[in-house]
């Protein structure tokens, strides 16, 4: 029997009562193009040139920026929204809003950080709106994600069917657990663990101080752990 390890963190550590009354959706408009946290990675030269060209009216350059970052933005939105269609809409909206506001982009942060910030705000705003409607289901989300999982795992050509099934099962659990945590927590998990952004970029995207971001990331991982153990109490998630 696998050894299940529990930390000393009580479930009640998260003030989850307020989830029933989600805060009004914040302004999901394009965020000001500033680096919210100090030390944000600056824009790359390549991006800088492209942004310059766009600001000078060469719209094709924006297409290059879109092509460069669309996959990352889309994947992050997909994991936050849970719906492929929503992710597509949010990604498209994010790039269009970034284009509309490109004149305000002050180059203090990377272009992708800026687009990510807009996209995450839009995705979270969408989730809040859906929650306010009080009739939202993520049912299609895991279904769609699981379908993709199945497809991708089938393509992987792993050694045997048992391993494939086990792999898919664990991924399915992670997808479900990710869908079960709060959108804000999900966003930070996606940005860090799935997209691999560094702390300063995440702080800039979420517009929070670095210390707050660290604290939130830890809580988000604890929430994910809680959700995983709720879904599969006997599965061992430690990496030893």
């Amino acid at each position: 029997m696998p050894v299940r390890v529990y930390g000393t963190f009580p479930l009640a550590a998260r003030p989850n009562q307020q989830r029933l009354h989600p805060a009004p959706a914040g302004n999901a408009e394009a965020a000001p193009a500033t680096g919210a946290a100090s030390g944000v990675r600056p824009i790359t030269l390549e991006d800088l040139e492209l942004v310059d060209q766009v600001q000078n009216g060469r719209t094709e350059a924006y297409g290059e920026l879109v092509t460069k970052y669309q996959d990352r933005v889309f994947n992050a939105c997909w994991r936050i929204c849970g719906h492929l269609e929503d992710a597509r809409d949010v990604t498209q909206d994010a790039f269009i809003r970034a284009y509309e506001n490109i004149a305000e982009f002050r180059r203090e942060s990377g272009f992708y950080t800026w687009v990510f910030r807009i996209a995450v705000n839009l995705a979270l705003s969408l989730r809040r709106r859906q929650q306010r409607r009080n009739a939202v289901s993520l049912d299609a989300a895991p279904a769609a994600q699981v379908e993709t999982l199945v497809r991708q795992v089938r393509e992987r050509r792993e050694t045997g069917p048992e391993e494939q099934v086990e792999h898919v099962d664990r991924e399915r659990l992670v997808v479900q657990a990710l869908a079960a945590v709060q959108p804000q927590e999900r966003a930070i998990l996606v940005l860090r663990d799935i997209e691999g952004l560094d702390y300063q970029d995440i702080a800039a995207i979420l517009d929070v101080p670095l210390g707050t971001m660290k604290s939130r990331l830890f809580r988000a991982r604890m929430a994910l752990r809680e959700a995983l153990y709720t879904l599969a109490p006997r599965v061992k998630w430690t990496d030893e």
């Binding site: 479930l11 029933l20 994947n75 691999g196 660290k214 709720t230």
Partner: protein, 538 residues
């Protein structure tokens, strides 16, 4: 040695895991990991969970996305929103929300105009009966005189002939078209999401329909509050974004409503309340737990009489349901055909339900719903599945409920016929205690304060609850045991529709009880209830 709080330690380990610590912190953490078992354990967990999330497959953007964006930009440039230097002249009005609002407003305006026009013509006809007999189409008069009706004579008749308003039929057709247009607009705006805002249009597939029938409106309010708090409790566990909640309250037909008002019964006191919850099957046991806890809390207050169907159980039921879930998912994984979706309202008869079988039927056996109290919509029955428990057992199950006072878990569990099958509750104590701690938070809901001492009593009961036997048929046990170790790919959802009704059958007579009726006392299940029925007799 620096003493760190759990939170500080966690943040530090998180930063170390992500390589976001400086040299001093790094040395400190490495020392901690060597010396402190708590730190090393937590770190291993954090690393495992982070790796699990990082290992999720990626999904590239749709191929058309970049082209769509580029097309939009080119179109935007053609429309001249950019100046010669590329700067924007103004925002692009592409907000779909506003577009929808404007479209809806336009349609509503059309409706209003049509209605006003229709009304004005109608009132004109009333005041000018002569004109109503006019047929044929001719130019409208320059001025419609309100005193026309009062005047007689050939001149006035000619004036009336010249009015020739559109016929009522054509007006009605026009109004109908406008209404259809409005409906189409609303439908189109709803189609943007796969889940309608209106839960009633959502098909109850794979659903469990549970009806709690209470004797009077007082009991209804009490039980409804309990159900609501239970749902909130489960939602507060952090699953709210994976759920759909829908609630509706009905007082019956308009005539019944009027009758209630005439009798001085508040119209806002509905006789039927319904909640619809869509949850992953894996979360159903916890919901049942919460409902159970709430029910045990409210039952004493509401004195719900016979005829009530109760989700009951405890850790044992949770285990059994989890096993049923596994078995169901295994069957689903084995079946390749698309699941049949039953249309809304297609609730099969008890006989049809008998032939369905399947794990939800097993859930019914566990829940102990008598026939007629609940209905099941689910996938076609796998071959060879039969429902095992008899009506007598269901009656025994209901009769075993002890609605009076604070019955302990052992009292209730002891009277449940167990047969030879007892579900083994293998939930580990640590985990259960955590779940209990989480589930205990719901009673702090400020919108509906709990009775004094109720929180403490419930928590104590949860803590002290012994393992509880569950009535599980041997063959079901066998099937669930076989399901151990199976893995399913698809996720399954179940819809739980909880309906609380007052009155004898929840759908007939107008509740003629006063606003604060005397609640039936005693009401032990098995004894005749207020309406003369008993659970055992159903």
């Amino acid at each position: 040695m620096v003493q760190l709080s759990d939170e500080q330690l966690g943040e530090l380990l998180t930063a170390y895991l992500d390589g976001e610590v400086d040299a001093r912190e790094k040395a400190f953490v490495e020392h901690l990991l060597r010396e402190d078992r708590r730190a090393s354990t937590l770190f291993a967990e954090l690393r495992g969970i982070s790796a699990a999330a990082a290992g999720l497959p990626r999904h590239d953007a749709p191929a058309q996305l970049a082209d769509d964006i580029q097309q939009w930009i080119e179109k935007d440039a053609l429309l001249g929103r950019h100046g010669q230097n590329g700067e924007f002249r103004g925002p692009v009005h592409r907000n779909r929300v506003w577009r929808n609002i404007l479209a809806t407003a336009a349609v509503l305006g059309l409706c209003s105009a049509a209605a006003l026009y229709y009304q004005s013509v109608q009132s004109m006809f009333k005041s000018a009966p002569v004109a109503t007999n006019v047929r044929g189409v001719s130019p409208a008069p320059d001025r419609i005189d309100g005193d026309l009706a009062a005047k007689k004579g050939p001149e006035n008749d000619r004036s009336a002939e010249s009015m020739s308003p559109p016929s009522e039929e054509s007006l009605a057709n026009f109004a109908r078209e406008v209404v259809n247009l409005a409906d189409a607009s609303r439908a189109a705006s709803r189609e943007t999401r796969d889940f309608s805002e209106n839960e009633s249009s959502f098909p109850l597939s794979r659903g469990v329909e549970l009806t709690l029938n209470v004797a009077d409106s007082g009991g209804l309010n009490s039980v409804s509050g309990g159900v609501e708090r239970a749902l909130r409790a489960v939602a507060a566990r952090g699953w709210d974004d994976a759920w759909s909640f829908g609630a509706e309250a009905r007082s019956g037909s308009r005539r019944e409503e009027a009758a209630r008002m005439r009798r001085g019964i508040a119209a806002s006191d509905p006789r039927k309340r319904t909640w619809t919850v869509r949850v992953p099957v894996s979360k159903l046991p916890a919901l049942a737990d919460a409902l159970l806890t709430e029910d045990e809390g409210t039952r004493a207050q509401a004195s719900v009489s016979a005829g009530e169907a109760v989700i009951r159980g405890g850790p044992g039921v949770r285990e059994a349901m989890a096993r049923a879930d596994k078995a169901w998912r295994r069957e689903r994984a084995a079946r390749t055909e698309t699941e049949r979706i039953s249309p809304r309202g297609d609730v099969p008869s008890p006989a049809a339900r008998e032939s369905m079988g399947g794990p939800f039927a097993e859930l019914f056996k566990i829940i102990g719903l008598p026939d007629g109290a609940g209905s099941l919509v689910g996938p076609p029955a796998p071959e060879g599945v039969e429902e095992a428990a008899s009506e007598g057992e269901a009656a025994q199950t209901v009769a075993a409920l002890a609605p009076s006072g604070e019955a302990t878990e052992s009292e209730v569990g002891g009277s449940v016929p167990t047969g030879s099958g007892h579900a083994d509750s293998t939930a580990e104590p640590v985990r259960r205690n955590e779940a209990e701690a989480a589930s205990a938070t719901f009673v702090e809901d400020s919108s509906r304060p709990a009775a004094p001492g109720l929180v403490e009593r419930r928590m104590k009961r949860l803590r002290d609850a012994p393992e509880r036997p569950v009535r599980v048929e041997p063959e079901l046990r066998q099937r669930w045991s076989d399901a151990e170790g199976s893995a399913a790919i698809e996720e399954a959802y179940v819809t739980l529709r909880i309906t609380v009704t007052s009155g004898s059958d929840g759908k007939g007579e107008v509740d003629q009880s006063p606003r604060h009726p005397t609640r039936p006392r005693g009401g032990r299940t098995g004894e005749p209830g207020r309406n003369g029925t008993s659970a055992a007799g159903r």
